[in-house]
Amino acid sequence: MLERKLSAEGVRRLYDQHGPALVAYACSFVTDAAAAEDVVHQIFLRLLSAEIAMPDVPVAYVYRAVRNAALNARRGRQRNAPLDSNATVFERLDGNRESGLALQEALTELPEEQREVVVMRVWSGMTLEEVAAASGAPLNTVASRYRYALEKLRGKLQPYRKESGD
């Protein structure tokens, strides 16, 4: 795989584009919005301070780095800590905090590879082909993971969808 150095401007662009999705992703490991934000912030600070050689798809590298850092952060905390309802990662346009919290919880319950595909696709705005390239999995596998993930999330969020009339 090709490796290249990412400029500070490139790192900032990556942060603007994928930062929020990465916080959501990290939150599924650490179950604490503030800690998730810290994890993502630290990864990008490290990228800014040192010119790390990145693979051809920097997003893949950043997702891996965030995952590892979040898992490390989780080791220092209580594993099954309850979600902090005052610091939700997701905010809905209509301001419904409960559905945001439910989504966060539902994402945490997904298998890791399914969760990754959903976050990359929905909040990082990547196509399934891009997700496949980033995760190194075949496109068909990625598509299946995505479909299963949506099915599970749909079941979990059904009550909130009815409330909002979607």
Partner: protein, 127 residues
């Protein structure tokens, strides 16, 4: 089914993940190589030394700066060249007729002009 997924995907898109705090502005890191540092030090020392010597020289000469300002020298002195004895001897030996011409030219430069209307000799002669 796909339409179903699209609708749900759209619903999920209505949730916005929290935007992390902004990255700090990049600090300017000066990367000074030892070579550059050595060169800069050498230049600074050389400049300092030359400045010190210039000041010392100025103090020794009583603070008076000697300038070779050609504009202050009278034109007559600039024109008047001292006769070279060597040149005149050579001319006398090799070309006596040129020696006369050179002497005439030199006398016009060196001696006061008596041919002008206001020349010193003419004024004296009138008196």
């Amino acid at each position: 089914m796909e339409n179903h997924d699209d609708q749900f995907e759209k619903y999920l898109g209505e949730f916005q993940p929290r935007r992390p705090r902004a990255l700090p502005e990049p600090a300017i890191h000066w990367q000074v190589s030892p070579r550059r540092l050595a060169a800069a030090t050498a230049i600074t020392i050389a400049l300092g030394a030359s400045l010190w010597f210039a000041r010392k020289k100025s103090e020794l000469s009583g603070g008076v700066i000697v300038r070779k300002d050609t504009a202050l020298i009278p034109e007559s002195k600039l024109v008047a060249q001292p006769l070279s004895l060597l040149l005149l001897t050579q001319l006398a030996l090799e070309a006596p007729e040129q020696l006369d011409a050179e002497l005439t030219k030199a006398s016009r430069r060196v001696l006061p002009d008596f041919r002008g209307k206001e020349s010193t000799l003419r004024v004296l002669a009138k008196e």
